[in-house]
Amino acid sequence: MIAMEHYIILSTLLFAIGMYGVIIRKNLLMLFFATEIMLNAVNVALAAISNYYGDLTGQMFAFFIVAIAASEVAIGLGLLIIWFKRHGSIDLDTLKSMKG
């Protein structure tokens, strides 16, 4: 039996990888990928906790996260396509219509 901590640490590592991706990538598509990674990392933690406490609530939340991720991808990609059509680029640095 693998201790729950293992899953939690794995989940944290995956989340950190996702966050790292969010921070450094400039490609908008990559940002989406990184977001997916973070969502999956959380799902792993939820599933692990659900298993070790014998509670289904964790899995329920994981389901809803999957649903939200799917919607996010659909909408996000739609927006991304529009953006690309207008500007011909999905570089984050070009997304600067507001000047600070």
């Binding site: 939690i8 990559m30 799902n43 692990a48 014998g54 909408i75 990609l77 059509k85």
Partner: protein, 178 residues
């Protein structure tokens, strides 16, 4: 023992694939690595006795989401090189430090130990059946709302992506500049 081996295999492979996702310069590689990572995560779910979640993971993520990405990439000029910022020390420290903190926070409930199951797993019942029971009794309204949300997202995605499908990029730019 086999469980241990399986866990570590899945774990290292997942980490490796996701590392590829965030570091690779080629979007296609990234996407492929992402797909593999998703599949590997579903393996973790099976290990955790969350069979139904594992299946959903395979169908929704690997089947639908990745496919969506793949189709979306048709629209983009993926060969175009996007200049990535150099990974600085600060960013690395930020991520490392926040992960450590997250571990701390995640392990906090275990330290307290007093956690009781709200919807306990029933012994001798399959996971899919169990999930179905809870989902359609306790979480019915969130489930329906999620369904509507998915519908809305689908329609929104179609409209946004399908709008002026035939239009040339350059024409749109001109239009915008007017």
């Amino acid at each position: 023992m086999i469980e241990l081996i399986a866990f570590y295999t899945f774990a290292f492979l997942t980490i490796a694939s996701f590392m590829v996702v965030v570091t690779s310069k080629n979007a296609l590689y990234s996407m492929s690595a992402l797909a593999s990572g998703m599949i590997l995560i579903s393996g973790l779910f099976f290990l955790l006795n969350a069979d139904f979640l594992g299946v959903v993971q395979l169908i929704v993520y690997t089947g639908a989401v990745i496919a969506l990405y793949a189709f979306a990439m048709i629209f983009f000029d993926t060969t175009k090189d996007i200049k990535e910022s150099k990974s600085s020390k600060m960013i690395f420290l930020l991520s490392a430090f926040s992960s450590i903190l997250l571990v701390l926070i995640m392990t906090m409930p275990m330290a307290s130990g007093e956690v009781s199951a709200l919807y306990p797993v029933h012994q001798g019942v399959g996971n899919a059946q169990d999930v179905g029971m809870v989902l359609f009794t306790k979480y019915l309204i969130p489930f329906e709302v999620a369904a509507v949300m998915l519908l809305v997202a689908m329609i929104g995605g179609i409209i946004m992506a399908g709008k002026k499908m035939d239009a040339n990029i350059n024409e749109m730019k001109e239009e915008l500049e007017k």
